[in-house]
């Protein structure tokens, strides 16, 4: 490669060789090189993940925890080995605290149903925030309806930050659970989770963090955070879809009842009663997404190889650059201007609907998300039906941000 070394080495990362790991990025869309800026919806997978899944499918697949035969043992080793990788990645205390789920949504539903239905009652409150993804709103609404508990919402300010003073006020004697996003998917705001957890702990209230948008972009240490539950998805962190993790503090998980019943979650079944399996399998009924877990383990290896602090630095400089060039587009307003943000830029263009923006920039090969981003209350707060959202990963480049800004000028021309 004869590229300018300055362009190649960004924040200590060799972006060109990283991009070479992602086959999907090397294609043209509508006659232009693809600029994939929709990572907050789903990130792309490096060939290391694709190969790990393919190797497992081609060589090792059988059902896990079942057979004495060799393949079943290999599959079990790969599956449980991946669990250990995930445990190390978020620094959980034990593999028992890593529950495989389909994703963040299922992980939150698991807590809302298993923990919520046994701990919530009339007059109790679940405290969330205005910034939540629907996946951290609706499961709580459902369990509130089932138990008579009440959903309480912490307001936010015009920059898209939650109001800590309001949170402290709303955290009352009836609060039984605090649930909030670590990083907002719609705006990119990094929430002050340490402060929130400290306040909740002082009152003995457990905290669930929706980490779907945090885990791909920053080092997460659940013991250091001292949260009780942490939910995240494989496909947002360069792994497969249909696999995710619920971290739960062992003491909490141990006293929670199973959520779904079936195979793998039992030790003994008779018609008089059933003895449930130990953690973590108590919460893993049925044959799991084994290949997905293997792929997610490979994604974690890949991220470890680059280093989460390198990734965070790289994305911070991408965010700064992209913010600067987008702010120069006339009529563009960034929604969500918190000082602490992940590399997510939600924006609107005066007089132009985000859906039209999405179609026109797609013509330039640029993929952005348009819509309400599964966070309709956030849109309502800012008085917009939808936004366009560019979300970056470490494999994105400054040039891609520049191309987006240029494409937005074309959008304006078209509607001038």
């Amino acid at each position: 490669m004869s590229a300018n070394p300055e362009d190649v080495l960004k924040a200590g990362l060799n972006i060109e060789s990283i991009r070479a790991d992602f086959p999907i990025l090397h294609q043209e869309v509508n006659g232009r090189m693809l600029a994939y800026l929709d990572n907050a919806a789903s990130a792309q997978r490096p060939r290391q993940v694709i190969d790990a899944v393919s190797y497992y499918d081609s060589n090792d697949h059988a059902n896990v925890h079942r057979g004495v035969h060799t393949l079943s043992q290999r599959a079990t080793d790969a599956f449980e080995g991946a669990r250990a990788k995930l445990r190390r990645f978020i620094n959980a205390g034990s593999d028992k605290e890593i529950i495989w789920t389909r994703g963040t949504t299922e992980a939150i539903n698991l807590v809302a149903q298993s923990w919520g239905r046994t701990h919530l009652g009339e007059g109790d409150e679940v405290l969330i925030t205005w910034l939540e993804h629907h996946a951290n709103i609706v499961p709580w609404q459902i369990v509130c309806e089932q138990t008579g508990a009440r959903l309480v919402v912490t307001p936010m300010d015009d920059s898209g930050q939650i109001r800590l003073d309001e949170f402290e006020r709303l955290l009352g004697p009836n609060t039984r659970m605090v649930a909030l996003g670590h990083v907002s998917n719609a705006l990119g705001t990094v929430n002050p989770v340490r402060d929130v957890i400290a306040m909740a702990k002082a009152r003995g209230v457990p905290v669930l963090l929706d980490g779907a948008q945090a885990v791909p972009h920053m080092a997460v240490d659940v013991q250091d955070l001292d949260c009780d539950f942490y939910a995240f998805s494989g496909h947002k962190m360069f792994g497969p879809t249909g696999i995710g993790v619920l971290y739960g503090r062992e003491s909490m998980l141990a006293e929670m009842p199973p959520w779904q019943g079936g195979g793998d979650m039992i030790l003994a079944v008779s018609f008089d009663g059933t003895v449930y399996n130990e953690l973590p399998w108590k919460f893993e009924a049925g044959t799991p997404n084994i290949a997905g877990a293997v792929g997610l383990g490979a994604a974690v290896d890949y991220l470890d190889g680059i280093g989460m602090s390198n990734i965070a630095n790289r994305e911070a400089s991408l965010l700064a650059h992209a913010t600067r060039v987008l702010e120069e587009v006339p009529g563009l307003r960034i929604i969500g201007t918190a000082p602490g943000k992940a590399a997510v830029i939600s924006f609107i263009l005066e007089g132009i609907h985000p859906h039209d923006i999405g179609t026109i920039v797609d013509h330039e090969g640029i993929a952005v998300r348009t819509g309400h981003h599964c966070a309709m209350p956030v849109m309502e707060y800012f008085g917009v039906p939808a936004t366009a959202r560019a979300s970056f990963a470490f494999y994105n480049t400054e040039e891609e941000a520049d191309r987006l800004a240029e494409a937005l000028l074309k959008v304006r021309e078209m509607f001038a």
């Binding site: 509508n30 132009i352 609907h353 985000p354 859906h355 039209d356 179609t359 026109i360 013509h363 348009t370 819509g371 309400h372 849109m379 039906p385 939808a386 078209m414 509607f415």
Partner: protein, 148 residues
């Protein structure tokens, strides 16, 4: 694909200056239409007298395709009978999702033919069809419709 095939001048114009963007005082027929995917919301008003649409109007917010489609629809509907309006609904459905329309059909649709480019953008068909579903609902009693 040329973007100008989607965003034709007449569409850009109707988006910038929507026609009949207002309410109609009762007696009227009306319905809400939502596209939850993109947040589009339309409210369509019709005044029907002796089986003929005397006035048509709409309010709401949406992308250029959905606003232009609604604006052109209200212009086209005035003076049509209910049966003609329902027939137009079917023809628009065909224009947006079916095989390429022949020149006679395009000519008879007038300005509405400008929406024929939407067919090449499957993710945008619902934008163009929202107002038509809403109009059909208004004619038949007014339940809210959703294009999801």
């Amino acid at each position: 694909m040329d973007l100008k095939n989607l965003y034709r001048d007449v569409i850009v114009d109707h988006n910038r200056s929507p026609r009949n963007f207002r309410q109609i005082e009762p007696p009227r027929r009306e319905a809400d239409g939502f596209n939850p995917l993109c947040g589009d919301k339309l409210h369509v008003y019709l005044r029907v007298s002796d089986d003929r649409i005397e006035d048509a109007a709409f309010e709401g917010s949406g992308c250029a395709i959905s606003v232009a489609s609604a604006s052109m629809m209200t212009e086209f509907l005035k003076g049509k009978t209910e049966a003609e309006a329902l027939d137009l609904f079917e023809r628009m459905h065909e224009l947006l999702t079916g095989e390429e329309a022949d020149l006679n059909e395009l000519a008879s649709l007038g300005k509405l033919a400008a929406l024929s480019g939407v067919r090449q953008y499957p993710s945008r068909v619902k934008c163009a069809s929202l107002c038509w579903h809403t109009m059909k609902s208004a004619l038949s009693g007014g339940d809210a419709v959703s294009t999801e």
